[in-house]
Symmetry: C2
Subunit: 181 residues, 2 copies
């Protein structure tokens, strides 16, 4: 049964044409360098302006925790992790399981959630919790790395919303998860 919720969950992520979000060692230069060469923020500011909470796993939180300034200032930030100490960082709340995380989002009156990082995106997809995906594909095959997608437990039909071509051959498509079928 789908989890009842009052908020929408969106993905906004960059991938290689072969579907990786990072190299195995976490390196993102192949992605960020092409994003910068595109000569635009690729719609990120417009996307994030409508977001009031961010959810990520430890794999996404750790490399970002030392960013200065902290990119999620003024926005609720939840980390789904079985290992991160609950008091690790006053800027985030740590959740051991999806149920408590979703309850917290609900209780805070959250409207719009940015779901970031491969593992958390796959968990939310499997649970039928993703409403919209914006996938920005950079023109390179990297062969191996951390995949964006994984098993879904069945077909998940999507509705294509828009496709934009940016500089440097970056192609961005947005989809809504089709709940009518």
């Amino acid at each position: 049964m789908p989890i009842s919720r009052s908020f929408r969950c969106s993905v906004f992520i960059g991938v290689s044409l072969d579907g990786f979000i990072a190299r195995r060692d976490g390196d993102l230069h192949w992605l960020t360098s092409r994003g910068e060469a595109a000569g635009s923020d690729l719609g990120y500011e417009e996307f994030i302006a409508g977001i009031d909470a961010v959810v990520m796993g430890r794999g996404t939180y750790e490399p970002g925790r030392s960013y200065d300034p902290w990119p999620h200032e003024g926005r609720h930030c939840a980390v789904l992790s079985s290992t991160l100490p609950p008091d690790a960082d006053p800027r985030v709340t740590v959740h051991r399981d999806l149920g408590t995380l979703l309850r917290e989002l609900e209780e805070r009156g959250t409207k719009s959630v940015y779901v970031d990082g491969g593992q958390v995106i796959r968990t939310f997809l499997r649970e039928g919790l993703i409403d919209e995906l914006t996938i920005t594909t950079v023109p390179v095959l990297i062969g191996t790395g951390l995949p964006l997608f994984g098993p879904t437990g069945g077909d998940m039909p999507l509705v294509h919303l828009a496709t934009r071509v940016f500089g440097a051959g970056v192609v961005q498509s947005s989809y809504a998860v089709d709940r009518t079928t």
Copy 2:
């Protein structure tokens, strides 16, 4: 060292948004039904008009051998397979290894090769033999299946050529392999 050749090799293939070209059992209905709903041949006729030879593996040849009419009439058709008997089908030549296949294409004065099927595409990519890729993405996640891409042995930068959006949310992007870097 790249193999010297006089012909260009192109890929023209449909995938799910999560990068699969078929379900594990070979089923393509999720793909072909959306292709039909797009209300166009998705540029296939234009693509195939410029092709004089087709290369495929046994996994692609077998399901297609009984198509009536044979889709590659009038076009040289080579199957790369370690198991298909050489005299299995007078419409195709069978090659046990890539070297003899490439030599045959060269000797025939081939100009433009359509490389079809996941395994053969991955082999040609790894060997640096692909010049152009046209990837048609249908709006569905299928979770598991036969992947289009695999290990490449290094980064393969691409040049974006064009993106077209068809009906039914089908998005097609073409890329050239970038040999300038």
